[in-house]
Symmetry: C2
Subunit: 164 residues, 2 copies
């Protein structure tokens, strides 16, 4: 059995899997609204429009998961991204594997997401279902369409996720 411990979510570490939603460390951006806000463009296109898709807005109220946790399967949505933003500071763990590689337990990476961070899973990124550390609400924006776009695959080796 593989044992997996999440590392803190950072833009650099998560880049192969998607986009981190947080205020950039560098000032950057540009002033708007009469200088009262600074705007940082994070992702030019969420990418949910393939094959007639559109951005669908939903809210997940998640229970806190018990850790350590045995991971059994992951899923991916090949036609659209999936965006998660905690609505009131709930933390979570995101377990991912690269979109363009076969799914093996050894390929998994885990990131711990603070309550003031969100993330976008790029289309095709393998990911485990939401693993909330705190009970709470997560705003989710994903591709809505007439057909389901979800591949599920069991792991070849069991993986135990521990918060460390």
């Amino acid at each position: 059995m593989r044992r997996l411990v999440p590392v803190p979510l950072t833009a650099e570490g998560f880049a192969p899997f998607g986009t981190v939603i947080e205020r950039p460390a560098e000032p950057g951006g540009r002033l708007i609204n009469g200088g009262t806000s600074r705007r940082h463009d994070l992702l030019a296109d969420l990418g949910v429009q393939a094959e007639g898709g559109h951005p669908l807005l939903t809210l997940f109220h998640a229970q806190a998961r018990p850790f350590p946790l045995r991971l059994g399967e992951l899923e991916r949505h090949r036609l659209g991204s999936q965006t998660f933003v905690p609505l009131a500071g709930a933390r979570c763990v995101i377990v991912v594997a690269a979109a363009d590689a076969p799914l093996h337990a050894e390929a998994l990476q885990a990131f711990q997401v603070r309550g003031d961070q969100g993330f976008v899973l790029a289309p095709g990124t393998w990911h485990h279902a939401l693993l909330a550390i705190d009970e709470g609400d997560f705003v989710v924006i994903e591709r809505g369409a007439d057909t389901v776009d979800c591949d599920e695959q069991a792991l070849d080796t069991p993986v135990e996720l521990n918060l460390g």
Copy 2:
């Protein structure tokens, strides 16, 4: 001069202007992720795809505004919605007027948004620029496109916004 005091943001009160992002008071929704999350679909389509538009992800770091505040002008985006979600509990006030009516000071309504709420401005809804009560970050999803879609209009009568 008109004086305006925000009322608490509720789905019912805000319905003419857009969608409130919060966990519905009624249980509803459906269980997902092996029963560990309850999913509430809030809006089937954000509606940002008109005329080649796509969903753009940005982050506003907003200063806290001083109140009372004199409001001078509002704006609208006719081709797409605009979604605001506080990333770490910052509160704000949203000042709006109906999309399909001429903009007059008397038509304005103001809502106070808790730190565990977000909202979607429906396409065309007149709104004031973000008015943060607390300094903080707001995740914004709006229509990205090659051309700018923003009408600005000065109010016919000055309006003073007070938190009450």
